[in-house]
C-alpha cells in the first residue's frame, strides 16, 4: 500500500518545487524598482487608514464551526457508503439514526437563522 503513496509524496514535492522555481525565475527575470507609492496597499487612491486586520462579523466564525461539524459528518459517511452492501439493513439504519440526530441540529440552525447571511 505504501508503494502507492511514493509517487504522491514525490508529486507534492515537485508541486512545491515548480511553484518555488517559477517564483525565483520571475524574480530573476523581472525588474525591481520599488517606490513608496507603488508599494502602498491598494485603497482606491486614498492613503491607507485604520489597521487592515479588523474585527470581523461573528457570522464567519459560525460558518467555520458549522463547517467543521458537517465535515466530520462527511468523514463518517464515506466509509459507510463504501461498505453499505456488506453491513446490511442494520448498518443502513444506524447511519439513518445518526443523520436524523444531526438533521435535528440542521433544522435548529435553519430556524434560528444561523444560515441567513445579512
Amino acid at each position: 500500500m505504501l508503494d502507492n503513496y511514493l509517487p504522491i509524496l514525490i508529486f507534492l514535492l515537485v508541486g512545491l518545487g515548480v511553484g518555488t522555481a517559477l517564483t525565483i525565475l520571475g524574480r530573476l527575470l523581472s525588474t525591481s524598482r520599488p517606490d513608496p507609492q507603488k508599494n502602498s496597499p491598494y485603497e482606491c487612491g486614498f492613503e491607507a487608514f485604520e489597521d487592515t486586520r479588523m474585527k470581523f462579523d461573528v457570522r464567519y466564525y459560525l460558518v467555520a464551526i458549522l463547517f467543521i461539524i458537517f465535515d466530520l459528518e462527511i468523514a463518517f459517511l464515506f466509509p459507510w457508503a463504501v461498505v453499505l452492501e456488506d453491513i446490511g439493513v442494520f448498518g443502513f439504519l444506524s447511519m439513518m439514526l445518526f443523520l436524523a440526530i444531526l438533521i435535528v441540529g440542521f433544522i435548529y440552525e435553519w430556524f434560528q437563522g444561523a444560515l441567513e447571511w445579512e
Binding site: 500500500m1 457570522r59 461539524i69 463518517f76 453491513i87 440526530i101 444531526l102 445579512e118
Partner: protein
C-alpha cells in the same frame, strides 16, 4: 525497502520543528500556520503507519476545517501581544511545574514496555488492494454503533452550543433584504391619485 526510514525521519523532523515554532513564534497567525504544518506532517506519519483513511481524514478535518476556524479567530481578534506577554515571568514557575509533570507522565506511559518497539512493532505492510476504509467501515457501523450514535449527539450539542454562543441579532446594523426589494411591485410604492390638473380658479376674486 527501507525507504520508510528516511521518510519517517523527514516528516518527524518537520513535525518537531513545526511544533516548536507553534510555541515560539510571536505572531499568532504564523503560529497557527506552523500548527497546520505540524498536522500535515502528522498525517503523513499516520499514512506511513498504514492508517491511510485516518491520515487523510486528519488532513480533511483538522487541516481543512479546524485550522481554518483557528485562523479566522486569530486573524480577526485584536490580540495585543505585548499585553499577553506581560505576565510571562509571573506565570513561568507554575507553568514550568505543570509542563515538567506532564513530561514525566508521558515518559512514564510511553517509556513503559507497552509502547516500546517490541510492544508496538511496525504494522505489517498491506497488499496494494487492501482497503483501510472498508475495514474501518465494517466495524464502526455495526460493532461500535453505540459510540457512533453518541458521536452524533456530541455533534448535535456542539451545533446548538455554537449557535447559542455566537448568534445574536445586531440591532445597529442597517439591513436590507434585496429579495424583498426585487419583489416590490409598483402598487406597493406608488399611489396614483386622480385630481384635476389645475385648482379651479374661483371667479370673482
Amino acid at each position: 525497502m527501507d525507504l520508510q526510514l528516511p521518510i519517517f525521519y523527514f516528516f518527524a523532523t518537520i513535525l518537531v520543528a513545526a511544533a516548536s515554532l507553534v510555541v515560539t513564534l510571536r505572531n499568532p497567525v504564523k503560529a497557527a500556520l506552523a500548527l497546520v504544518l505540524a498536522f500535515f506532517s502528522a498525517a503523513c506519519l499516520w499514512v506511513l503507519l498504514e492508517a491511510e483513511f485516518l491520515g487523510i481524514v486528519l488532513l480533511l478535518v483538522y487541516v481543512g476545517a479546524v485550522m481554518v476556524l483557528f485562523l479566522f479567530v486569530v486573524m480577526m481578534l485584536d490580540i495585543n501581544i505585548a499585553q499577553l506577554r506581560s505576565g510571562f515571568g509571573e506565570y513561568l514557575p507554575i507553568g514550568g511545574i505543570v509542563a515538567a509533570l506532564m513530561l514525566l507522565e508521558m515518559v512514564l506511559v510511553l517509556g513503559a514496555s507497552g509502547f516500546d518497539l517490541q510492544g508496538m512493532p511496525n504494522p505489517a505492510p498491506q497488499p496494494a488492494d487492501y482497503s483501510n476504509t472498508r475495514a474501518l467501515g465494517m466495524l464502526v457501523y455495526t460493532d461500535y454503533v453505540y459510540p457512533f450514535e453518541l458521536a452524533a449527539v456530541v455533534l448535535l450539542v456542539s451545533i446548538v452550543a455554537a449557535i447559542a454562543l455566537t448568534l445574536r441579532k445586531r440591532k445597529d446594523t442597517r439591513y436590507q433584504n434585496p429579495a424583498e426589494q426585487m419583489a416590490v411591485r409598483r402598487d406597493d410604492r406608488v399611489r396614483l391619485v386622480k385630481m384635476p390638473s389645475e385648482a379651479k380658479r374661483e371667479s370673482g376674486r
